[in-house]
Amino acid sequence: MTSENQPIAAMDSLLQASKVNIIPNQEYLLQGSILDVQVQRLLHRLKGLCDNVETAPEQFHDYEACFSLRNIADEQAIHTAPLLLRVRRSNDPADSHMPWQLRYVGNPELGDTKRPTLVRSCFDISCSPSIMEFLTEMGCRLEFEYTVRGYLFRKGRMKITVSKIFRPMNQEPLSGSYLVELSLLAPVGADAVAEDMRVFAEKLKPLVILEKIDHRRIAPN
């Protein structure tokens, strides 16, 4: 900022950045799962394929809560899908100074069968720990919560996580499998990255089959 320059309002600069597509607000995602007994083989495979070979896989232990926000004033809007917001923080005491993460995830675009990955709009926002109270007072309802432990790998801009989900109260595992996710955050129009993800997913076959998963089909209701 020079003395001649007036600061631009934050909202204006953000909308400008949004207009020229430099904000990474699209998540490209492939998901799959692997049985506990086979997970070591997958970790070895990923260690060989990914960037962080020397540092070995990064481990994480997170807590995540999912909140929903509905427009209760509008009767018609009650039947539409609520806005979902996810709050995530690390359970590791060494990360206690790290910001919490607030995540908005939009509806997935699955329609285009030629597209190799699921694409959904997504905002990842670092925030202060007051976010839980803030969302509750905003009128958000806590839908579910869980803890997740696992390993994180990187390959270029791609993020690969192999993680296990636990109930937060008693740390009981939810299933006998690990969830495998291959994801990438990119600005609108960066569809070429989806092809790189498809190629990478091919390399993990037949240990794990990463696919586009329609979450609406597996939802309880």
């Binding site: 509008d74 926002i125 202060s128 976010i131």
Partner: protein
């Protein structure tokens, strides 16, 4: 970062806002201050469609990568500090929380550095019509983090260039009792470590006063 004190500058009918800003700028330059650009603090209000909850979303050019939000449900205020992308999320939350564009308010003007002090002369304007509302003077004493320790020094400094208009007591924001989540006895902000959100909360108090004045004027004296 240090301790920031925000004081409104009373305007009489003799001089306009820009004239006062120019006069104070000259005074600061005569005190060997250097102008280091401009600053901007702005505040938007989002109001719930089903209750009285308000979310104040504010930005401070001193912290250009952050958004400061304060949720006010009438009984308590919950501050939240986030990345800039939070602004895009607030657009998604519409119409559950709708933006009250006519209550948008901002304070902007020149920024000066003078030794350990930072002085900002803010002209407050409201809504898209940019109606002038008043002047807010921000003084930041950077080497200290506990308000009560450096208040006397800031007061003396303010007296040096505001003269009769300088405040004699620390702003009420610092002396109000705040409930302590870790202890039954409430504490005062004046004894606590100063944080960037404290600057934003001081601005919010003054912004809300300007908003109330405007709403009162719009409603007329009979209502």
């Amino acid at each position: 970062m240090g301790v920031t004190i925000l004081v409104p500058y009373p305007l009489d009918n003799k001089k306009t806002g820009p004239e006062v800003v120019e006069e104070l700028s000259k005074r600061l330059l005569a005190m060997q201050a250097t102008q280091t650009g401009h600053f901007l603090v702005d505040g938007d209000v989002f109001e719930s469609s089903f209750n009285k909850t308000k979310i104040h979303v504010m930005h401070n050019s001193e912290y250009p990568a952050s958004v400061f939000s304060i949720l006010d449900n009438g009984q308590k205020q919950i501050p939240l500090i986030t990345d800039l992308i939070f602004d895009l999320l607030m657009l998604k939350v519409n119409p559950i929380y709708a933006s009250r564009k006519q209550l948008k308010i901002e304070s902007k003007g020149p920024r000066f550095e003078l030794g350990d002090f930072l002085v900002k002369l803010g002209s407050v304007t409201m809504s898209q019509s940019q109606t002038f509302k008043g002047l807010l003077i921000e003084v930041d004493y950077r080497p200290c983090l506990i308000p009560i320790i450096c208040w006397e020094l800031i007061r003396e400094f303010l007296q040096g260039f505001l003269g009769q208009y300088s405040p004699t007591t620390i702003p009420v924001y610092f002396t109000n009792s705040v409930p302590n989540p870790h202890h039954p006895v409430p504490y005062q902000k004046s004894n606590d470590t100063y944080q960037p959100i404290d600057t934003v909360q001081q601005y919010l108090e003054h912004f809300n006063n300007y908003r109330k004045q405007t709403i009162a004027l719009m409603m007329g004296p009979n209502k």
